[in-house]
Structures are given as structure tokens and as C-alpha cells.
């Protein structure tokens, strides 16, 4: 029982990560792919933050009268990872805009069709 409770958080976080990954690889719509990627990355943040947690501790901002603090390092790493994630999202969305200009669609199968036609023509 304690095993299940102690690891419950990790399992849910894994479920969240895999949901994001599933959306990335299963959908053919470019915007939904980016949304999935976002969910995937946001869930990895939760994995790290979950690790840093210490029972009975408080946030690592020092105050009078508190002795134990949670681990500051996972927070630091994830602050970097959030920014990296949003940077990737921005580039991916800019690409989506350009693809929509060039192909008139953001559906993968329609793009593939057009590319195939182009390949045959060329």
C-alpha cells in the first residue's frame, strides 16, 4: 500500500507525459502536434518538481522559524526547461504558418499528397 502511495505521483506524471507523446505521434494536424509537444514538455517539468519535494519542508525561500526546505535545484533546472520549451513552440508555430502559406493546409496527409504530386511532376 505504501509502495503504491509513494509512487502514485510518479505514475500519474508518466501517464501525463505519455498522453502528450501520444498526441504528437498520432495526430496529423500540425497545430495539434505542437500542442501535444507542449503537454509532453510540461509534464517533464512535473517529473522534476515531484523529485525535489521533501515531506514537511517549505519552499526554498528562507524565513525565520523554518528549518527544512525543499530542493531548489529541480526548480532551477525547470525554469530553464520552460523557456526552452516555449522557444521550441514558437519556432514550430512559425514553421506551421509558413507551411500553411506554401501548401494551403496544416494537415499532414494533404501535405504528403501535394509533395507526392510534386515529386512525380519533377
Amino acid at each position: 500500500m505504501s509502495e503504491a502511495l509513494g509512487l502514485y505521483n510518479y505514475w500519474i506524471v508518466i501517464f501525463l507525459m505519455m498522453t502528450g507523446l501520444y498526441l504528437v505521434i498520432s495526430t496529423g494536424n500540425l497545430v495539434r502536434k505542437v500542442v501535444g509537444l507542449n503537454i509532453f514538455q510540461a509534464s517533464v517539468l512535473l517529473l522534476y518538481v515531484t523529485m525535489g519535494r521533501v515531506d514537511g519542508a517549505t519552499a526554498p525561500i528562507f524565513v525565520e522559524g523554518r528549518e527544512t526546505y525543499t530542493d531548489p535545484l529541480p526548480s532551477v533546472l525547470m525554469l530553464t526547461a520552460i523557456v526552452v520549451g516555449v522557444a521550441t513552440t514558437a519556432v514550430a508555430l512559425a514553421l506551421t504558418v509558413r507551411i500553411n502559406e506554401a501548401y494551403g493546409t496544416i494537415e499532414e496527409d494533404e501535405i504528403n499528397e501535394q509533395e507526392h504530386a510534386q515529386e512525380l511532376a519533377g
Binding site: V44, M51, L95, A102, Y103, E115
Partner: protein
């Protein structure tokens, strides 16, 4: 000055990138970028000399914080070798670039090209020198994001979709690396690779660490286009601007191979108690490598676009490197590291030659290259020399590393591996011959404009890379010896 040497190759291009962008003038931006690249190259060579002569890795504590709390740069022979590899190829390819991109990229984007190119190079160099696992992720993202933008500069609209696919797979790979890093961090409580290695020996057989290794390997496998994970590579190489293809093909995947070597040998360990990379090295890596060597080479034979042919050949050649790494012996590792360098020169040179061809005939289709041997004799001659290097003909650099690889296989009494290496080289003969046959023994297409030799500013960088690949095939002291030294260091055989 000398105490800051370790950080210099990373900081120079990193700080020059925004300057190039702000200059806006395309000539000034490209000029600055080229100058910075060559200075970086010189710094890299000095760094390698220092590391080799002092016999100890150069340690640089960023911000003055020691390894237990801060980030340190840890430059051993292998890292310095990769720095020289990336900066030299970066410099040569960028020297090639101005004339080439003048035809392929709109003029108002040239300063973007210069800035992104420098950022990509800085990211790759940062991965090479850092001793901190999370820092690898950050610099990997710098180099990846700039590479995406560079590839999307291609003329064809398919460059956009190729980039998008690369971005999705690359980000999934990077996130896998982030998960693996997190699990390693969770079990060891540190991000410094040396400290991590020390703690990992205490936690023998912990399942979390095994999973971390699996995720790190899968993530970096995506980044280095190890065989079944290579889906992004052919189109990305095919539709990127010529100079971008040459740079990415020569450096990006090679640095990923370096990261894999670093993780397997420095962190996970390969022998002794507590070594954790058994399954990866014994089973996964060789299987992927060998299937890649055969399947990708076979696919390459049937390509009608020469750039894509070379891209599939790259996937196959990554297999040779991975195989060398997986042998866990001095000559195997030497072969892997030497092939890293030799293949970077050869493939860089070949893609530059493709750039020359694209510059003159505006196409990289095999059908349009008919009779090119007579119309662009120098370029095609260089192409043939590079092609021989891909096959591994004696006197080329490709031969040296394959020779080491066969020797490593025989040392382990794995005769079948030696046969496999030779057989897959035969496949390379076929696809290289297809191009040679088309260029030399077929009549040029009717009704096309007369084509002349590529301008010298394109030919000289191409000749430098191809020439270097021949030079290092004839005189192996430098490349193979440094590779051997790096291999001994990684295996813990102290000089």
C-alpha cells in the same frame, strides 16, 4: 588568456552571433562570421595542443564555482578533438557559403544565416566541452533550434515540412534526454558527469538507472539518426541550402555520436563492477548499427536525388561509428572516433561538391548530372575522390578508420563483423559508381545551357576538405593517433 582557453571556442561564436545579426549588412555579417569561425578554429587547435602536451584535461569552472555546486567545463583529448573537428569544418564550410547562399537564400536573410550558423556552431562546441549533463541539454537545444531555422531556409517548400518533421522528432529526442537526465539526477543527486559516474558505481543494477540509460540512448539515437530513428534526416539534408547541408552533415550528427561515447564511457562505464551499459553496448547498438549499414546503404542505391543518396549514406556511416563505439576495445573506440573525423571531412567535402554542382546546374538530380565529368571536371574529380573515401579505398581517410574497425572486430574473434563491414562497403561501391557512371559515361542532356566549372571561391573550400580526407588517409599520425589517445583515456588506460 590561456586559463580561459577552454571556454573560448564556445564564447567566441556565441557572442559574435548577435553582432552579426545587428550588423544587418550582409557582407559585413558574413565577413565577421567567417573571421570568428577561423579564430575559433585556431583557439580549438591551441586547446587540443595544450590538452595533449600537458596530458591532463583542461578544467574550467564557470563563474568560479567548483564542480560540487557549479557547472564546469571538462576538456579531455576527445572533447578537444571534437572542438577542432567542429570548428575546422564550420570555418571551411562558412568560407564556401557566401557565394553559394547568394544563389539560394534571399539577400535580406544573409545576416540571419550568419547569426544562426554561429549559434549552431556554438551549441555544438558547448556540448563538446561541458562536463555537466543538464548543460548538454541546453546547448543541444541551442544548436538544434538554430539548425531548424537554417534548414528551413531551403528554396523548395519541402524544406519547410522537412524542418517540421526534424523539429518534432528532434524535440521528442531532446525531451527523452531530459527525462533520462532527470532519472540519472534523481538516483545520483548531481549533474556533474564525473561525480555522477562515481555515485552510479554504488547503485549497481538499480532499475531506474537502467531506464535512464535507455532514455538517454533513445534520445541521442534520434539526434544522431541511428538507423531506425533516422526518419528526419534524408529530407532535411536534401532540401536544406547546400552549405547548411554540408555543415549539418559534417558536424551535427558527429557531435551526437560524441555525446553517446561520452555517456557510455564516462558515466555508465563499460567494465568493472557497476558498469551499466551492458545491454546497450552488447545488443542494441550493434544491432541498430549493422541494420543501418545494410538497409540505409541499400536505400541509397535507389535514390535519384544525389543529395538524398548521400544522406542515406550518412545514416549508414553513422552505423560504422556506432559499431566501433559498441566494441568496447581500444581499437574499436579508436575506429569510431577516427571515423567520426574522417567521415566528417569526406561527407562535408562531398556535400560542398554538391553545392558547386547545384550552383552551376541548379539541380542535384542524378539525371541532370549526365556528362558532368566533362563539363565540370574539377568538381567531379573531387566528388570521385570523396566517393572513394566513402567506400574506404586505401589511401583515403575512410580506409584508415575502416581498417581499424576490421582490426577491432578480428581482435575479438568476430570474423562475421569483419565480413559485414566489407560487404556493406560493397554497397557503397554501387551507389558511388552509379554517380560516377552517370557523370562520366553518359551523354549530357540535350538542349541545356553550356555549363562551366564552378568558381574558385567554391572550389577551394571543397578541395580543402577532400584534400584533407586524402591527406589524413596517407599520413595517419595526427588523426588516428589523437583518436587512439582519446580512446585510451576513455578506457582508463592512463598514459
Amino acid at each position: 588568456m590561456s586559463e580561459h582557453l577552454a571556454v573560448l571556442p564556445v564564447l567566441l561564436p556565441l557572442l559574435a552571433a548577435p553582432i552579426c545579426f545587428l550588423l544587418r549588412n550582409r557582407i559585413a555579417a558574413m565577413g565577421t562570421a567567417i573571421a570568428v569561425c577561423w579564430v575559433t578554429f585556431v583557439a580549438g587547435v591551441v586547446l587540443l595542443r595544450t590538452v595533449v602536451t600537458t596530458g591532463a584535461p583542461a578544467i574550467y569552472e564557470l563563474g568560479g564555482w567548483s564542480a560540487d555546486v557549479g557547472i564546469v567545463y571538462h576538456v579531455d583529448t576527445l572533447a578537444a578533438f571534437v572542438v577542432v573537428l567542429v570548428s575546422s569544418l564550420g570555418a571551411v564550410v562558412l568560407t564556401f557559403a557566401p557565394q553559394s547562399i547568394a544563389k539560394e537564400i534571399p539577400k535580406e536573410k544573409h545576416h540571419f544565416f550568419a547569426a544562426l550558423y554561429l549559434l549552431s556552431m556554438a551549441g555544438l562546441l558547448g556540448i563538446a566541452v561541458t562536463g555537466d549533463l543538464f548543460n548538454v541539454f541546453v546547448f543541444l537545444e541551442i544548436s538544434s533550434l538554430s539548425t531548424y531555422a537554417l534548414i528551413s531556409l531551403g528554396q523548395d517548400r519541402r524544406a519547410l515540412t522537412a524542418t517540421f518533421r526534424y523539429l518534432i522528432l528532434g524535440t521528442v529526442g531532446a525531451t527523452f534526454i531530459l527525462i533520462g537526465t532527470g532519472l540519472m539526477y534523481q538516483m545520483t543527486g548531481t549533474l556533474n558527469m564525473a561525480e555522477m559516474a562515481a555515485h552510479i558505481r554504488e547503485t549497481e543494477g538499480v532499475r531506474t538507472v537502467l531506464v535512464a540509460i535507455a532514455f538517454l540512448t533513445a534520445g541521442i539515437g534520434l539526434k544522431m539518426a541511428l538507423f531506425p530513428l533516422h526518419a528526419w534526416l534524408p529530407n532535411a539534408y536534401c532540401y536544406a541550402p547546400s552549405s547548411v547541408t554540408a555543415f549539418v552533415a559534417a558536424t551535427s550528427t558527429k557531435v551526437s555520436v560524441y555525446v553517446l561515447i561520452r555517456w557510455i564511457y564516462t558515466i555508465f562505464g563499460t567494465q568493472g563492477p557497476g558498469s551499466m551499459s551492458g545491454v546497450v553496448v552488447d545488443l542494441v547498438l550493434p544491432a541498430m548499427a549493422i541494420s543501418g549499414m545494410f538497409i540505409a546503404s541499400t536505400v541509397a542505391i535507389f535514390q535519384t536525388n544525389v543529395k538524398r543518396l548521400l544522406a542515406f549514406s550518412s545514416v549508414a556511416q553513422i552505423g560504422y561509428m556506432a559499431l566501433g563505439v559498441s566494441l568496447v576495445s581500444e581499437s574499436g573506440l579508436t575506429a569510431g572516433i577516427a571515423h567520426l573525423f574522417n567521415h566528417a571531412l569526406t561527407k562535408g567535402g562531398l556535400f560542398l561538391a554538391m553545392g558547386c554542382i547545384a550552383y552551376r546546374i541548379g539541380s542535384v538530380q542524378l539525371a541532370d548530372m549526365r556528362g558532368l565529368g566533362r563539363r565540370m571536371p574539377v568538381t567531379m574529380f573531387l566528388w570521385v575522390l570523396g566517393g572513394l573515401g566513402l567506400i574506404g579505398v586505401p589511401c583515403t581517410a575512410g580506409f584508415v578508420s575502416k581498417w581499424y574497425l576490421v582490426r577491432a572486430a578480428l581482435e575479438q574473434d568476430a570474423l562475421y563483423l569483419a565480413v559485414i563491414i566489407l560487404l556493406s562497403s560493397l554497397l557503397a561501391v554501387i551507389y558511388v559508381w552509379r554517380v560516377i557512371e552517370t557523370a562520366y559515361f553518359q551523354e549530357p542532356p540535350e538542349g541545356k545551357d553550356e555549363v562551366t566549372e564552378a568558381p574558385l571561391s567554391l572550389l577551394i573550400p571543397t578541395a580543402v576538405l577532400i584534400g584533407a580526407s586524402i591527406y589524413f588517409g596517407l599520413f595517419t599520425e595526427w588523426s588516428a593517433d589523437v583518436a587512439g589517445l582519446a580512446a585510451r583515456e576513455l578506457l582508463g588506460v592512463v598514459r
